[in-house]
């Protein structure tokens, strides 16, 4: 049992000692309660990541960690630029699966009686894209511009406002993206999917701010009690999935996988041609994901205006968008020296503290907004990034609750119809593509989001700002 090897360093922090070919130890950020149910296989994955060339300090498991492929979900690792590698297994197949939060000038009371109407209208307006394609048509040439220029390009086309750009991670465009590094297969998979949610754990949620924990920061983010908010959770769709798969194959051809602890940890040196190509393609997928949410945001604005014609001054603004599955070049203090490293976040959120240049100017004094979606029907949280995260976790924190129940057992044990009814009784209206997607994503299939958030707040790798409660949920 790997679990028995865990050594407690302090409250909520455990070390997985270096052994065999591990180059660094593992570091697990779990509460005592959560350690009881930690998955052996996820610990094995933390050990495997610690064996990758050029890894710095430690291989990290965040409180929402569960088994992934290659890296665990909720896994973070940083690599030295000269000795280190970049791996699709540390980013995931759903490149830049991410979350955007919108705020409105509506109050909870303004919309509660219209829940059902809003659910139906948004479900109709925002397609899941499951085999039905998108209403958004785009040529291959235009798609290439989306991949290289990101949100800026689509705003020029009329999808949103210039000021939206100010509140997106990377300004809605990761530099270095190259469409020529994206295969024609990936283009074909993605071209019909812009402006679609996708399925699985992706969703769109209209909710309200139930509680404010930090008034000062909440006011900087423009959030106040009872304000209606909208969360969008989706990624780079088939385009990103294919890019991951394409580069896994290319890296296998170039480097072989015989000496790897896990075939999903195939990698390339960061500075190699293939390493650079993967980064450029990954960045293109991230830009696709940013644009995807921008189009959805535009449609939400249109639909809400139609739903609330009497509200002449209706405003829907972007609070922030954060990436969950991504590799980034960022500066950290390593053994007393500032150094640029390649941070892989697989199911993890960047959580930079006050002053960092990467944070939008309006938020820079307090730290970046960290958005943690709950599961269907449970609370979501807005937190703020910290200096502590920069010291402990390469500026990273959790990305969600983390699954505890398999999809098949959720399907067996939880009936979709019952969930819909239970949620309705709680005042939450829900529309989904199928009963099956209800059951699979049941709140009972996930760790307790409140516990996960409590741990990161206690640890200080992000601090609670506000709690959001859903009123309307749309699932793919």
């Amino acid at each position: 049992m790997i679990k028995e090897k865990l050594k407690k360093i302090e409250e909520n922090v455990y070390e997985l000692p270096k052994e065999e070919n591990m180059l660094v130890p593992g570091r697990i950020f779990f509460s005592k309660k959560m350690i009881e149910t930690i998955e052996e296989d996820s610990l094995k994955q933390v050990q495997n990541v610690a064996k990758l060339p050029g890894i710095l300090k430690y291989s990290i498991g965040l409180p929402d960690m569960h088994v992934g492929y290659g890296f665990p979900i909720g896994g973070v690792a940083a690599f030295d630029l000269d000795q280190g590698v970049i791996t699709p297994g540390g980013v995931g197949y759903d490149i830049d699966c991410s979350v955007r939060l919108l705020k409105t000038n509506l109050k909870k009371e303004d919309i509660t009686k219209d829940n059902e109407k809003i659910a139906k209208a948004l479900f109709k307006k925002i397609p899941s894209g499951l085999g039905k394609g998108s209403r958004f048509n785009i040529s291959r040439q235009e798609l290439k511009k989306v991949l290289e220029k990101g949100v800026n390009y689509i705003i020029e086309k009329g999808y949103g406002k210039k000021e939206d750009l100010l509140y997106l991670e990377e300004g809605g465009c990761i530099p270095g993206a190259e469409a020529s590094k994206v295969s024609s297969k990936a283009i074909k998979r993605g071209i019909g999917q812009l402006g679609t949610l996708g399925s699985g754990n992706h969703f769109l949620e209209v909710g309200y701010v139930e509680e404010i924990y930090n008034k000062e920061v909440a006011s900087v983010f423009g959030l106040e009690k009872n304000q209606v908010t909208i969360l969008i959770h989706c990624g780079s769709r088939g385009l990103g999935h294919q890019i991951a798969s394409d580069y896994i194959k290319l890296m296998e051809e170039e480097y072989g996988f015989k000496n790897l602890p896990d075939r999903e940890l195939i990698n390339a040196p960061i500075k190699s041609r293939l390493g650079r190509d993967y980064y450029s393609a990954m960045a293109a997928a991230a830009n696709f994901a940013f644009v995807n949410k921008q189009i959805i945001t535009h449609w939400i604005r249109e639909e809400m205006k139609e739903l609330f014609p009497e509200k002449k001054d209706l405003e829907i603004k972007v609070v922030y968008e954060v990436c969950h599955n991504i590799a980034k070049f960022e500066k950290y203090n390593i053994d007393g020296k500032e150094k640029t490293v390649c941070v892989h976040r697989k199911g993890a959120t960047r959580s930079l503290g006050p002053g960092r240049i990467e944070i939008p100017e309006a938020y820079r004094a307090v730290g970046q907004p960290v958005l943690i979606p709950g599961t269907m029907g449970t609370a979501s949280y807005v937190l703020v990034g910290t200096k502590k995260a920069e010291e402990l976790t390469f500026g990273s924190t959790v990305h969600g609750a983390g699954r505890v129940m398999s999809r098949s057992s959720a399907l067996r044990n939880i009936r979709g119809e019952k969930i819909k009814k239970d949620l309705k009784n709680k005042g939450i209206e829900i529309e989904a593509g199928s009963w099956k997607s209800f059951s699979e994503e049941s709140p009972n299939a996930y760790k307790d989001i409140d516990e996960v958030v409590k741990v990161v707040d206690e640890l200080g790798i992000s601090k609670k700002v506000a709690k959001l409660i859903p009123l309307v949920v749309i699932k793919g």
Binding site: V67, Y69, G131, K188, K249, R403
Partner: protein, 137 residues
């Protein structure tokens, strides 16, 4: 002989497939994937040809299954039956024809993001073959 069986997996879908021959094994893997997409009857209105190669048994399986994800996303094609199937064991090549229908005509279950190498194996046990696949969904 059972064609395939689904196993527990926390976040994704994991299945084993079985076959008397390697060729049957690959076919049954495809059938397991089809069931993940949609577990009821699908009309055979469209056909697609599939040609894939691999470097080893596992990569051939990965590439074979991935082809259906590609058709799902790019052609909105929901596969249901394998009309013809030929495996070249030496060259590690599969040539197949599948039939199915447009996804919009069905309330499909699951969109699969990717085939993974996580916990993947293909091996011979006594006189038959067994494989395991985890799908990212």
């Amino acid at each position: 002989m059972k064609k395939f069986q689904f196993l527990e997996h926390t976040a994704d879908i994991k299945f084993r497939a079985f076959g008397k021959t390697l060729s049957d094994l690959y076919k049954n893997n495809a059938l397991a994937l089809f069931e993940v997409f949609y577990d009821k009857n699908v009309k055979g209105k469209e056909n697609y040809n599939i040609n894939v190669k691999g470097k080893d048994y596992e990569s051939l399986l990965y590439n074979f299954l991935e082809e259906f994800l590609f058709l799902f996303d790019s052609k909105n094609f929901l596969p249901s039956k394998i009309i013809s199937f030929k495996l070249d064991e030496k060259k590690l090549k599969i040539t197949a024809e599948v039939s199915g229908d447009q996804i919009k005509n069905y309330n499909v279950n699951t969109h699969v993001k990717a085939v993974t190498y996580n916990e993947m194996f293909i091996k011979k046990q006594r006189s038959s073959w067994i494989s395991q696949v985890v799908l990212d969904i």
